[in-house]
């Protein structure tokens, strides 16, 4: 499964400037692709445009070579598992019931859970290390547990691509790393992964390619070593940063600097 946009423009009704303004990017089959950028730079909008849930004003958003809006919802759900930024659970549901919803697009209106459905659900629970939680009420889960359950639901869709909007926000390092390793493992099995994240360093370690958005435009696109450039990042984030090679992992590492002398962080040489 591939994702591709060409000069994509997306506007929200009643706003003067477009949220996405001429974005061109390509996510190759089986890649782990990170989308980076400051708050409000259009990352989530890009995801929604690729999932075909918001209208494209100009340009194109293609999923598997076809315009995202031409996919039927069930068809899309069988091909792409998406995890939105947040989800509020109002009513009590068990973890298993929540993950079983991933099978919706594979089932008929009245058919019961097939053995294949059950296997997919069990495998997804297992992959996300939430099998023990299966009978728990999902409204009582911690943030990290709920995130893993939501990813399990996307995996239960048995998709050829995963699309995730900040899945590791507010997670501790153990849960964050567990999710990144899971995504890396999925990518190695040929599942294309598109990951929106604020974690520049971890994106540098896990992503094959990345896209840096700046107020709806592409600031940089390509391999992590190319995108994570100190000057580009400083411009885009509006904050001075330095980029070094991490001696443990050997990949670029982004260090936010200080802006005032005398603070605990070094300031850039003027």
């Amino acid at each position: 499964m591939t994702f591709e946009t060409k000069d994509l423009v997306v506007r929200y009704p009643g706003t003067a400037s477009p949220v996405l303004d001429g974005v061109t990017m390509t996510v190759p089959e089986g890649a782990l692709y990170a989308v980076l950028g400051p708050n409000g730079s259009g990352k989530s909008t890009l995801l929604k445009a690729l999932m075909g849930v918001i209208p494209v004003a100009a340009g194109s958003a293609l999923v598997g070579g076809r315009p995202a809006s031409s996919w039927k919802r069930r068809e899309m759900a069988r091909a792409v598992g998406a995890v939105a930024q947040s989800e509020t659970l109002t009513f009590p549901l068990t973890v298993r019931e929540l993950v079983a919803m991933g099978r919706y697009a594979h089932q008929g209106a009245l058919s019961a859970e097939s053995p294949h459905d059950r296997r997919a659900i069990d495998a997804a629970l297992e992959a996300c290390d939430v099998t023990e939680l299966a009978e728990r009420d999902a409204t009582t889960l911690s943030g990290g547990e709920l995130q893993r359950v939501r990813i399990a639901r996307a995996l239960a869709q048995e998709p050829s691509a995963l699309v995730l909007d900040e899945p590791t926000a507010s997670l501790d390092i153990r849960h964050e790393m567990a999710i990144l390793e899971l995504l890396e493992h999925s990518a190695r099995r040929g599942i294309t992964v598109l990951l929106i994240t604020h974690g520049l360093d971890l994106a540098a370690r896990y992503a094959d390619r990345m896209l840096l958005l700046d107020r709806g435009r592409v600031a940089a696109e390509g391999a992590p070593g190319k995108v994570l450039d100190a000057r580009t990042l400083s411009d885009v984030y509006g904050w001075p940063v330095a980029v070094t090679d991490d001696h443990v992992t050997g990949v670029p590492r982004v260090i936010p600097l200080g802006r005032t002398t005398g603070s605990r962080t070094p300031v850039p040489p003027s």
Partner: protein, 329 residues
């Protein structure tokens, strides 16, 4: 397993409440007399009381109660809010404006379909207004905004009804007021047929939407990613639930809180899977309103209490508990 047991228990309770509804009333009949009348025996008077008054009334209560509970459960899934309910959302109010208008203009004689159709139009108008007001705030489906919108819209409809009644004849006013309070006293076989003709097919349609409603209950964005056609589901489910509400209002007036109390109780017992929640809410709503109507007949016997008063007395405390909980989150 547990769901099957609950369905059986509710089915048995429903039969029991129908029997009780036929057995008890302002005229004293013994169980033997009531049963004899049910099977076509007994005296002419007891046959008339049982077959022409009590049986249609009890069946109407079951249909309207089941329908209101089903509509409540549907609105709750669509709005992701356990407080959503036809009465609270002002939908019953909208339906009653349509119905009062038909009564006041004397259009009810045109055909028995006039009242439910006008009530349905009023219900749809109410939904559109509540959504307009709620989304104008820019905070979408915030509980507080939605409830406030429901209150405002309901107030507007009360004013409309007051205006229509103020320029109507005394006879219309009396029948309209009784009916606004919610009562099954006017039940006959015609109203039973009408309620069944709207509620049962609409209920089946909602049952067919149980799976997408499961997805809608966890959020529209996620629901579409999981494969639900959100726009279509919303459109159909809102229209069908409004139709059920309108049919209930047309035959029994405004009966509040059934759609709130019943799905809440059923959810506590079986969880949120709408494939179980919807049919069980229908059964439980049927039992609830049949018993509430029995209470309405017996509490101040031989005088009648409007059944809407009984459901409100039960529903308001539960509403307040739920409101506290959802505002605490």
């Amino acid at each position: 397993m547990r769901r099957a047991a609950l369905a059986l228990a509710l089915g048995a309770l429903l039969v029991l409440s129908i029997v009780l509804g036929v057995r008890f009333g302002s005229v004293h009949l013994t169980t033997a007399e009531a049963l004899a009348a049910l099977t076509g025996g007994g005296s002419r008077v007891s046959r008339m009381i049982v077959l022409d008054l009590r049986l249609p009334r009890t069946l109407l209560g079951a249909l309207v109660g089941g329908g209101l509970a089903l509509a409540g459960a549907t609105f709750q899934a669509l709005l992701r809010n356990p407080l959503a309910e036809p009465y609270i959302l002002g939908i019953s109010g909208g339906a009653s404006v349509g119905a009062v208008l038909v009564l006041a203009l004397g259009l009810a004689t045109v055909g028995s379909w006039m009242l439910p159709v006008a009530a349905f139009a009023g219900a749809l108008l109410a939904i559109a207004l509540v959504f307009r007001v709620a989304s104008a705030s820019g905070r979408g489906m915030d509980v507080r905004v939605l409830l406030l919108a429901g209150v405002v819209v309901a107030a507007f409809f009360s004013a409309c009804i007051a205006f229509i009644l103020s320029i109507s004849e005394a006879r219309t006013v009396q029948s309209a007021v009784l009916w606004i309070m919610g009562s099954l006293a006017g039940a006959d076989w015609q109203s039973v047929t009408l309620a069944a003709a709207y509620t049962l097919p609409a209920g089946l349609l909602l049952l067919a939407l149980a799976r997408p409603l499961n997805l809608m209950a966890i959020g529209e964005e996620t629901a579409s990613y999981l494969g639900a056609d959100v726009r279509r589901v919303k459109l159909v489910a809102f229209a069908v639930a409004s139709l059920i509400t309108a049919a209930g209002v047309a035959v029994a007036g405004v009966i509040g809180f059934v759609g709130l109390v019943v799905p809440h109780a059923v959810r506590l017992l079986t969880g949120t899977d709408h494939r179980a929640l919807l049919p069980l809410s229908f059964l439980a709503g049927a039992v609830f309103l049949s018993l509430a109507d029995l209470a309405a007949r017996l509490v101040l016997a031989p005088a009648e209490t409007p059944v809407g008063v009984i459901t409100a007395f039960v529903g308001v405390p539960i509403f307040l508990v739920l409101l506290r909980r959802s505002l605490a989150r």
